[in-house]
């Protein structure tokens, strides 16, 4: 500990000007006035965003509400392997599997029930990391509300991708 390079920031000595305080008032007023004038004439410096009319530009990785992706025939890509349910730190995913009646291969599984409790979910993205089929990804939708707790448990129909995947507001998903 003795050979650590340190910088001493002990209290500076107060000059007469600072003790009189008038100089400090002028200096302080100048700082706030400068910010005021810059915001008044150079509007680009204003930090406030007029939410919800104006929204911040979020990155491609924002972790929002989940999407269950589908195959070309419209069925879910999910094979009910329970990986996301196992990886979830908040234990908010509930899956019930069943045998796929239309499968060409014997014993292929599909999800009969796939529920996410969005009030329990912490939006960490571990389900996306865990999925071996890219069946669950995240959108950038992060503002939604519910009238009661039951509504917050969303199932396959609410989570399923609507239309082509390019049209979704895509957020956190595997990069490669």
């Amino acid at each position: 500990m003795n050979n650590v390079s340190t910088v001493n920031v002990d209290r500076p000595k107060q000059t007469l000007g600072e003790r009189i305080y008038l100089g400090s008032i002028v200096k302080g007023l100048w700082v706030t006035l400068r910010h005021f004038l810059r915001n008044l004439f150079g509007q680009r410096d204003i930090a406030t965003i007029q939410y919800p009319e104006v929204r911040r530009e979020y990155s491609e990785r924002l972790r929002g509400r989940h999407i269950l992706t589908t195959k070309e025939d419209g069925s879910l890509r999910c094979v009910a392997c329970y990986m996301c349910e196992t990886a979830c730190p908040a234990d908010c995913i509930h899956i019930v599997a069943e045998e796929d009646p239309e499968a060409t291969v014997e014993w292929e599984k599909i999800a009969k029930v796939y529920e996410i409790d969005l009030l329990r979910c912490v939006f960490c993205g571990y389900c996306v990391d865990a999925c071996p089929k890219e069946a669950i990804i995240m959108s950038r939708v992060h503002d939604f509300s519910f009238a009661n707790r039951r509504q917050a448990v969303v199932g396959i129909e609410e989570l399923r991708q609507k239309g082509p995947i390019e049209d979704e507001d895509l957020g956190y998903r595997p990069y490669y």
């Binding site: 600072e18 990986m83 730190p89 571990y126 990391d129 071996p132």
Partner: protein
């Protein structure tokens, strides 16, 4: 190496000499750089006193006290003390195994005041009694709570419905020391829900006029038993939980935890991941100081600075979000590296921030540093001496403001901090004003570190290719059988961390953030103990208050930067 393990043979010899054979059953060097002393409760006090008072050992800082439950062992409980010598630069772990009946040890409060709340917490959560402790009550859970949550036979899903209201009334409330000089005694509750407590804390104070004559703090309102929850999840799944410790600088918590697990696994994150972790940790430190100082200045009546500090903070959140996908709880660190590589414009964003932030710091300095009102409000208020601060277990900016140049980044470098040039800011007065000055200077030093790091950002992967620890890349999972098997094994079985224990320290924004991790060789932590940096600082708070005005209590609390998320866990 992520944690430096210096040659300990000499220190080991010294320790064997000073601790006679009958007092210490076993003395050995642990893999994490700690010297480990195993003793029993009869000899515990003797051992601890020797460690503290012997001039060659000189362990002046008590880092942590915790209890671990091993139901399968003959001696079911183990109390673990972590000690550090600031001068001699060695670190010790003292273990005391205890039987199931009557688990009790003598209290170390007489040796280090820091033991106060750590022992209360251990009593509360593990049920180990500390004989001679002045105030051994439950600390984090409600007083009507039954059982001890961190014992292995306590079911993590068990719920207690508590119907009684908070009834904690300190015993001294009834004593009314009114005489002809003190006739205006009254009891005042500050908090639990008070705008200036920045979280739910409750302090009961006794006033004589406007002067506080006695105080006692009550915490635990945000307690969610993070440590128990960690035991029910895999090693990697703990990282989202660590985000919620000090939520103002969540990156540092995740990195600290990942470093601890990596150390136990004997792996290291690739160089690029180390540098990105370092850059984002320093940005987190900047944000944390900005929040602390912004709120502190609001509390003493200077609102403008709050906006000047929150503007760069918002921009830093933009950077974190572009890397991790989350703003506050980012969950970006993983065991073995990072969740994903940084975006293509990372360097541009960092350089933009490096230009953007200093002018806000300058503005605040112009407004505040030489401001006579602020100086009169904070100079000499809440002052503490270096010896007192160490005795209470302080670390971080608050300790440095008292004149001790102790910084984990320098004392025990990790993430390659030894390769960067920066100075550790210190002040000598230890008052609220000094804490402000130290934090401001630390912000500038953090910018200096980031500037050096971004100039030397190496290329390469950001997560280790050791698939015992890290998931294989998605492109391989989709196409290769081998990778898919690794992926399944890692998700279902978790990372198989070798059995053992290790303490890893990182410099959090408030001081030394330590993780004491115990593994039984399975895919889940056997025990996670966090040493939250603001915990020992908060336990000093009621003692520091005595003799101060009510208004000063707010200034003192704000200058500590108490984050309830890590205080209560």
């Amino acid at each position: 190496m992520t944690v430096s393990s210096p040659d300990t043979t000499q220190e080991l010899q010294l320790l064997t000499e000073r601790l006679p054979g009958e007092s210490a059953a076993r003395i050995e060097a642990a893999a994490d750089g700690f010297l480990e002393v195993t003793t029993d409760r009869v000899h515990l006090m003797e051992v601890l006193r020797t460690l503290r008072d012997d001039p060659d050992l000189d362990c002046n800082l008590l880092l942590d006290v915790c209890g671990v439950d091993y139901p399968d062992r003959e001696q079911r409980f183990e109390v673990v003390y972590h000690l550090r010598s600031l001068e001699k630069d060695h670190q010790l772990r003292v273990k005391v195994p205890l039987g199931q009946d009557d688990p009790a040890v003598p209290s170390a409060y007489g040796l280090w005041k820091a033991a106060d709340w750590f022992e209360r917490e251990t009593w509360d959560l593990v049920g180990i009694r500390f004989d001679g402790h002045p105030n051994l009550r439950r600390l984090l859970t409600h007083e009507a709570f039954q059982g001890h949550a961190l014992r292995k036979d306590y079911d993590p899903g068990q719920r207690w419905i508590l119907t009684e209201a908070e009834t904690m009334v300190p015993t001294w409330v009834e004593e009314t020391p009114e005489d002809e000089d003190h006739f205006e005694t009254q009891i005042l509750n500050i908090g639990p829900s008070h705008p200036a407590t920045h979280g739910t804390l409750r302090t009961v104070v006794r006033l004589d006029g406007e002067v506080i004559t006695k105080a006692e703090s009550e915490i635990g309102y945000l307690h969610r038993c993070f440590e128990k929850m960690s035991e029910t999840h895999g090693w990697n799944q703990v990282i989202p939980y660590t985000d919620r410790l000090n939520y103002c600088s969540s990156m540092i918590n995740g990195v600290g935890f990942a470093l601890g697990v990596e150390h136990m696994l004997g792996i290291e994150a690739p160089p690029r991941a180390q540098v990105v972790r370092l850059i984002l940790s320093e940005f987190s430190r900047l944000m944390d100081h900005a929040v602390c100082l912004g709120a502190y200045l609001v509390d003493v009546g200077a609102l403008t600075n709050f906006w000047y500090f929150f503007q760069p903070r918002e921009e830093i959140y933009g950077l974190l979000e572009s890397c991790a996908g989350g703003r506050l709880t980012i969950s970006y660190a993983r065991v073995g590296g990072l969740a994903a590589d940084v975006p293509a414009d990372f360097e541009r964003q960092v350089r933009y921030l490096l230009d953007y932030i200093p002018k806000f710091v300058d503005d605040v300095e112009t407004l505040i540093t030489t401001n006579r009102i602020f100086r009169q409000r904070t100079e000499g208020v809440g002052a503490i001496s270096a010896e007192e601060a160490i005795a209470w277990g302080w670390t971080g900016p608050c300790l440095r403001a008292a004149g001790v140049p102790y910084d984990v980044r320098r004392a025990r470098p990790y993430l390659g901090y030894e390769d960067y040039e920066f100075d550790v800011p210190i002040a000598t007065t230890g008052d609220c004003y000094a804490r402000y000055l130290v934090r401001i200077e630390e912000m500038r030093q953090s910018l200096r570190i980031i500037r050096q790091a971004i100039d030397n950002l190496p290329d390469g992967p950001v997560i280790t290719d050791n698939h015992h620890a890290a998931l294989p890349p998605k492109s391989k999972v989709y196409s290769e059988m081998e990778a898919l098997i690794w992926h399944f094994k890692l998700i279902y079985e978790g990372i198989q961390v070798p059995a053992g224990d290790a303490y890893t320290a990182t410099e959090g924004a408030n001081g030394e953030l330590g993780y004491y991790l115990v593994s039984d060789g399975g895919g889940r932590p056997y025990r996670v103990k966090v040493r939250p940096p603001c915990f020992p600082i908060m336990q000093t708070y009621p003692h520091l208050l005595e003799g101060h005005m009510v208004a000063d209590s707010i200034a003192i609390l704000s200058s500590f930067n108490i984050i309830a998320g890590e205080l209560d866990r």
